[in-house]
Every structure is written in C-alpha cells, then in structure tokens.
C-alpha cells in the first residue's frame, strides 16, 4: 500500500472543538481533530494547478469529488455525505464546478493506492479528491483525503483527520479548507459559522432571535427565545463568544455572550443606551457606541479591567466602529460633515479622516481581515449598495445593489462578503447573500426564516 502518513514539520495541528449545545446527547468534553499531513514518496516537483481568485469571473475549475471509501455500510454512508459537503462548499465558492458523479468511471475502492488519471481526464476533471473513512473506538472517526492534479498526475496534498463521529461535518469543512488553500493559495473559510438574526412575525412587532449555523446553512441553533429584541451579533476572534444588542426594559444595550454556555453579561455600566459593539482583533477590548443626551459617541472598553475610554467628542452621530486587523486604527461612520460618511481614526481617537466622498451616504464600515479593504453600505437616490473601498479612500467599487442591502461581513480570508437584502421583489422579508469581492458569484444562503445582521466567524480554532 502506498498510503503513508507523515507529520508536517513533525507536529500535527490540533483543532480544539468546543462542544455545542445539546449536552443530553454530547458529553461536555473538549474534542480534538488531529490533522496529519500525508505525503507520497513519488511527489516531486510542485504541481502548478491553481485557481487565480483575484481575477473575478474565471470559468470555474471542473473538479471531481469521489465518494470517500469506507469498509462498512455506515462508513460508505459517511464517505458519501462528506464528499457531498465538500462538493457543495467548493461549488458555492463559485471557483469550482464539481462534476456530476454519474460521469465517474473509476470507483472509490479502485483508488486506494492511486487514481487512473486517464479515466478522470476523459471526463475533463482538472483536479480529483479521493478519501476514506474509518471508524475508531469510542465513537470516533478517521477521515483521510488526497487531492490530485489530473494532468500532471501528481499528488497535491493529503491529510488525515480524526474526531468524534458527530463532528463529521466539521471534518468535511476542514477538508474543503485544505483543498481550497492548495488550489487558490489563500486560506479557506469553510470551517466557520454565521451568527445572525432570525426574523418572524409581522413587521410592526417583529420577533428577532439570535441564531447560529455553519457557513453552509447547516447545524442551525437558536441562542435566544425571541422574548427580547436582539440585533447586530458579532463574533469574538476565538469564535466562542458574541457581542450583540438586546433590549432590556425598553433600552438597547450591548451584551457579551458565551455561545455554548449561554452565559451573558452587560457590557460596561453605561447609564443610557449602548449599541454597535465589536471586538478588537486580540479579543481584549470591545468598541461600542454610547448615546448620552441624544449624542452618540464611540467608546472602547477593556474587557479585563472594564475601563472605558471615549474616542470621539462632538455633537454629531459617531457610530458603527470596526478595528483594522492590526488593531491600530478604527473605521467608523459619522455625520459630523453634514451627512453619514465613513472616517478612519487611530485607536486613541485622534486624526480622524474622512475617506468617502462619492455621491450618497456611507455607513456600516467593516475592515477586511486582510486589511486591504473596507466594506460599506451606501445609499443614494433611494437605492442601497454594498461596496468596498481602500482604507485611504481610493478604489471605491460597488458590488451589489437593491431596494435595501446592508451590513456586510467578511469571510476570514477577506475574499467573500455576506450581507442581508430586502429585495425589490420582496421588501417585506430579508435574506442572507454572499458575494465575491470581485463582484461575482452572488448567491442567497438559505435560511429557515427571514434573516438579517449576519456576522461571519473567524476560522474556528
């Protein structure tokens, strides 16, 4: 057998999984995914198969995702499901076109050593993913995958993962991240979650609940029961906490909440309403808006010392702050110049500089995790748009427009945005939409109810 395992630089990456909800079914223990790099001795020169994701509308790369091999009926079943999740992830990215399984010539059990490349060339696959699933003791599962370049007949990457069986979806997402990374040169964003607001009921008495799901819309869970109005959830850099807005006794205030335990606390003892909270990149602070006497100002609060620092000081509305990924600057919106525009200041609150000068109002700025762009919402002549602009104010581009589009959030690789939309055809409802920053691959992310205020998690540690 040619399958060999080797450790990349002698160490295996460890993924710590906090166990979500349902303690009745899942024991309250930390699970691990052990990720081991697999190499083949014949792998020599690096293959050049690559998708250039900076170019926008490229023809998606045809890829074949074979069902993962399994020895038992149950393992075969998981092998199919994992292959399906990987294929859907790749397809949703817009960069890949998974080939229908009906066209496949070679079967999973025939590829335990190596695929017959000619069989895959015949169906025009450029890359092939193979793998296998094996059960281990203690309801654990081992998943191996390999990525092959069909034309150069080379093994591009291979890894082995192990985790509790009920974490099979996460393993499929981690597999997708590895494939995406190898083929695009960028980190993936599939092992991530989305926290958002699930909406039901009439528009004048809307029930809003905190909801969380995997980035592909699976594993939906509600974090609040709808008895209080909640808005604008955002992840901490560990993806284990969120900060959000909740109305208690009619006053909106910013809260911090541990996702799995449900424990939550009020952020800071501000006498009035606080809103628009967001974590600093190191997770040690939150920046938020406090409105006193009708005047909204931006404050930073240290989460350990609970010390507060005021960052803006004028009679205008200053809100919607977001840190740069290095934590040294803050982008925010203000109407200090007459109407709502975007400004960048340093973290101490000085040297605020306006960066938007186009026609219309600009708000909801969010700094890309790569640091190169700021996403925003713009409104002009009765229509809304989602766009990006460079932090120096140059290179503004509009990506999507509709009756109302609002609240962009970045995938952790800074290549994809999600936002919510009340469309012209159905302004009574709202939906989640993803779009590539090139402006292509706009897609609705299915949710069971109307949805708004999405926030994309970092890669789950």
């Amino acid at each position: 057998m040619i399958w060999r395992t080797g450790r990349e630089r002698g160490t295996a990456s460890r993924y710590r999984l906090g166990v979500p909800s349902r303690p009745a079914i899942w024991p309250l223990a930390i699970l691990t995914v052990i990720l081991i790099a697999l190499t083949l001795p014949l792998a020599t020169a690096r293959a050049e198969l690559r998708v250039d994701i900076t170019r926008g509308q490229v023809e998606p790369m045809p890829v074949a995702i074979s069902d993962f091999y399994g020895e038992s009926g149950e393992a075969i079943d998981f092998g199919k499901k994992i292959a399906q999740v990987v294929a859907r992830n790749l397809e949703r990215s817009g960069l890949f076109r998974p080939i229908g399984k009906g066209a496949f010539i070679q079967r999973p059990e025939e590829m335990l050593s190596k695929p017959r490349f000619a069989d895959w060339r015949q169906i025009n696959a450029q890359a092939l993913v193979t793998g296998r699933v094996k059960f281990k003791s203690g309801d654990r599962m081992e998943v191996e995958f390999r990525l092959w370049d069909i034309f150069s007949e080379e093994h591009m990457v291979g890894k082995r993962l192990e985790s509790a069986t009920n974490q099979w979806r996460r393993m499929a997402h981690i597999v997708t991240d590895e494939i995406y990374k190898r083929l695009t040169g960028e980190i993936g964003y599939f092992d991530t979650r989305i926290v958002y607001i699930a909406e039901t009921g009439p528009l004048d008495a809307r029930i809003k609940r905190l909801a969380i799901m995997d980035q592909d819309g699976e594993n939906l869970r509600f974090l609040s029961d709808g008895s209080q109005l909640v808005l604008t959830p955002r992840f901490s850099p560990t993806a284990q906490e969120i900060t959000y807005l909740s109305y208690d006794q009619g006053i909106p205030r910013a809260y911090l909440r541990e996702i799995d335990s449900g424990q939550h606390e009020l952020l800071g003892k501000f006498p009035g309403m606080t809103f628009a909270p967001r974590f600093s990149p190191d997770g040690n602070s939150v920046v938020l808006t406090y409105a006193a006497d009708g005047n909204s100002e931006i404050y930073e609060m240290d989460l350990r010392s609970h010390k507060k620092r005021r960052l803006t000081e004028n009679s205008a509305i200053d809100t919607a702050p977001s840190y740069s990924p290095d934590g040294r600057r803050i982008v925010f919106e203000s109407d200090r110049g007459g109407d709502q525009q975007i400004y960048v200041m340093d973290r101490q609150g000085s040297q605020a500089r306006r960066i938007t000068f186009g026609k219309g109002r600009y708000g909801t700025p969010v700094w890309s995790p790569r640091g190169d762009l700021i996403a925003f919402t713009k409104s002009y002549e009765g229509r809304f748009s989602i766009g990006v602009i460079k932090p120096d104010g140059s290179g503004e581009r509009i990506l999507s427009q509709d009756f109302l589009v609002e609240g962009p959030t970045w995938a952790p690789n800074g290549r994809v945005l999600m936002f919510f939309r009340q469309s012209e055809r159905n302004p009574d409802s709202s939906e989640l939409v993803t779009i590539d920053i090139t402006g292509h691959h706009e897609m609705i992310l299915f949710t069971t109810t109307a949805a708004s205020d999405p926030a994309w998690s970092p890669l789950i540690p």
Binding site: P252, A276, N295, T319, E333, Q340, Q422
Partner: protein, 181 residues
C-alpha cells in the same frame, strides 16, 4: 336647483336640528318645501343616531392619565423630516399639549421612543432615533417638565408604524412616541 337646495338643507339640518333654520332656507315654492321637509326629517333621524353614538363613546372613554387618553385627546407622537431630529412647528404644538397634559398627572413617568423609517442603516437609525427622542424630551423640559419623569430610548427602524415601503409610510414612521410607563 332642487338638488342644490336639498343639499343645503341637509347641511343645515346636520349643523342644527332647529326647525327655524329649515324654514328660512326652504323659501321656494310648495314642491321645493315638500321635498326639503322630507330631506330634513331623514337628516334629523341620522343626527339623532349620531347623538346616541357619541353618548356611547363617552361612557367608555379613556381613563384620564392613561396612554389612550394621551393618544385620543392630546396626540402621542410627533413627526420628523428625513434624516432630521429637528422639531417641526406642528411637532412643537403636540409636545406643548403633552406638557400641559402631563402637568395634570404629576405622578406619571414617561418613556419617549425615537423611531426612523427604513431608509437608513440599522446603527445609524438607532443613533438618529435617540436624537429624535432627546429633541422631544428637551422640548418637554423647556415647557416645565421635570427631567426625572422622562426617559428616552431608540428603536431605530425596528418598530415601524406604517408597513408600506414608500414615502407615505416612511413619513409616518419618522417619529417620536410618548409612552406612559
């Protein structure tokens, strides 16, 4: 000509049930007078019905000092222009009436909610709503209200009153609402 006289007569009958009025209007020939009298009697009937209705409403009128009392007899809300927290002359008059009314019930505490239309982003609208609520609060204080009785909050665009997606609805949603606690 006949129809015209009848309309005039009904108007007169509605504003007053006095037979004298009807007589002074109906000074044409016999035929006119006859038709006018028929109209007058039906008009009198309907105004009698109206009188019964008014009495019924009065017997179940709002409790003085309640939210319903404020809504029906004073006006609980003031409206704002797009992206503005500046009180209009009409808004000021409503708030002046509210201040008068609140003086009658010194034990009442109130919450002033600021609201916006859907044509702004969520967090900006929260800030704008707070600005509107504060503008209303400050005006009540200027009219002698004790600030300890007043609290403000903002719902941004979360609680529209009118549900359409047009200017007609938006202008009814750009408001501050005074709510009795």
């Amino acid at each position: 000509m006949v129809a015209m006289a009848a309309v005039l007569l009904i108007a007169a009958a509605c504003s007053s049930t006095s037979d004298d009025n009807a007589a002074t209007v109906g000074d044409g020939d016999a035929a006119d007078t006859a038709s006018a009298q028929t109209d007058q009697s039906s008009a009198t009937d309907s105004s009698a019905d109206a009188a019964v209705d008014v009495a019924a409403v009065e017997s179940s009128g709002p409790i003085p000092g309640s939210q319903e009392d404020l809504v029906q007899n004073v006006g609980d809300r003031v409206f704002f222009e797009y992206d503005s927290a500046v009180l209009t002359p009409e808004g000021r008059r409503t708030l002046e009436r509210q201040a008068e009314w609140l003086r009658l019930f010194p034990e009442l505490k109130i919450m002033i909610e600021g609201h916006c239309d859907e044509r702004g982003t969520r967090e900006y609208n929260l800030a704008l709503g707070e600005r509107r609520a504060t503008a209303a609060r400050d005006y009540l204080i200027a009219f002698g209200m004790d600030s300890s009785r007043l609290q403000t909050t903002s719902y941004g665009k979360e609680r529209p009153y009118a549900l359409g997606h047009n200017e007609e609805s938006w202008k009814r949603n750009r408001r501050s609402v005074t709510v009795v606690n």
